[in-house]
Amino acid sequence: MAKKHALSTRLWHWVNAGAIIVLFMTGLNISNAHRHLYWGDYGFDPKDAWLSVIKFPGWATIPQHYNLAMARDWHITAAWPFGIGVVFIWAAMLINGHFRRDLMTAPKDWTPGAVIASIKAHSGPGGHTHGYNSVQKILYGGVFGVLLPLMLFTGLAISPGFQAAAPWLLDLFGGRQSARSLHFLAAWAIFAFFVIHIVLAVSDWRLILEMFTGGTREAEAAPAPPLPEPDPATEEGAPAHG
């Protein structure tokens, strides 16, 4: 029977969830080291910053006190499962048809009507189980196609050792400080998605369970076998077949 979520999707989902939580919370600790964001190649003076952010509190960071060295250890280690995971899930989605079937949008998905229909379908009872609607396709597509790769490539671009391998990457993002700013913005965009994702998921615990078990795809699920007629001999409700 076809699973609603392929094994590759489930495996990646939980590994990626763990990596993203570590990356985000260590990222907040790293942000505390210099809380100012710049555009271009250089930037060190807060008066040149396009944005200065708050000092993120200890409960939101890993570790829970300011420790740039430890935060960087966790951050650059978690970057491996995250980075390899992004490449893995894209390969898996293209091979198993998940991308083409569930995420690839058609022009009709981008119309206001499709958006309204998506919201209506989602707010009705049982609306969660009818595959991916237009809004979901656009949002998931944005995460897979834009945010996750952007996170990976801006992360590589701000690494001085990697720049010797791909200086064009730095030019693509408009300089080292621009890449750092984009890394920060993409992290918060992923956080926003994460919050919406969790809120919608906890509204129906079956969705979370299915991300472990895979669930079954409704349209392709075999019809339930007809219930056997009650046997007068087992009237008390004992199982008919031992």
Binding site: Y42, D45, P160, A165
Partner: protein
């Protein structure tokens, strides 16, 4: 809202997280994992860029208007201040350790060597960047002149400054030591190096973060390992703050 329970839950999670994290962080497995990730980054960088792959260089117009001084911005003591005031007439740079021909060079000797000028970006581990034009001889030229022995695996930089009352030192491996952009800079933007930027001599190791770019360099030492130097971490920040020895990420 259930504000109080939520708060205590958060506080509880935070406390749990803090103790769990420090336990996990200090375990040998975790430290081995961090080391594997760091080595992995270095191996991938060098496989992709090659040992001699260059860090980006910039034009004069792209330099930052000033170059921030950070960490040690001065060297305590009358001797250094006197040297600084007089243009470092007595400053010596020693090349020693596992070399067949130890050297002791004056600033004039260093300026007389073949020079390299490069406009490069300095990335501090904290996140900020500055761009400056550096001039000085390549470290490779000094290592060749001193005839570094085959058993040398690392080059250690000994500095005149102390930071938080500890002597500053840093180290790199032979790949970065022989990298074309690894120079001993005596000039920044065409002027003698300012005090805050490491006068009279500082390292530029352009594929690594700022804390590797040792300032106020007095000696260059070829060694097989840095186990017996400082706390054995290979540098001031590695020893006293746990920073990564490979500072290319």
């Amino acid at each position: 809202m259930v504000d109080l329970p939520r708060r205590s839950l958060l506080a509880g999670m935070a406390a749990l997280g803090a103790s769990a994290c420090s336990k996990i962080n200090e375990s040998e497995t975790t430290q081995a994992l961090f080391k594997a990730a760091e080595d992995g980054h270095r191996a991938v960088h060098r496989a992709l860029a090659g040992k001699q792959g260059l860090a980006p260089e910039y034009t004069r117009a792209e330099r930052s208007p000033t170059f921030r001084g950070n960490g040690s911005v001065t060297v305590e003591g009358a001797a250094y201040q006197d040297q600084l005031a007089r243009g470092f007439p007595d400053w010596r740079l020693e090349v020693r350790g596992l070399v067949d021909q130890p050297l002791s060079l004056s600033l004039a000797d260093i300026r007389a060597l073949p020079q390299r000028t490069q406009i490069t970006r300095h990335d501090c581990v904290e996140g900020w960047s500055a761009i400056g034009e550096w001039t000085g001889p390549q470290l490779a030229a000094l290592l060749d002149a001193a005839k570094v022995r085959k058993e040398a695996n690392f080059i250690v930089f000994r500095c005149a400054d102390t930071y938080r009352d500890k002597p500053y030192y840093e180290s790199i491996d032979m790949v970065d030591a022989y990298h074309p952009q690894t120079i001993i800079a005596h000039s920044l933007n065409g002027e003698p190096l300012p005090e805050k930027n490491g006068a009279p001599l500082r390292m530029r190791i352009e594929r690594q973060l700022g804390y590797k770019q040792a300032k106020y360099v007095e000696a260059i030492e070829a060694v097989t390992s840095f186990d017996q130097i400082g706390q054995g971490g290979g540098g001031f920040w590695e020893d006293y703050a746990g920073y990564q020895w490979y500072a290319g990420v």
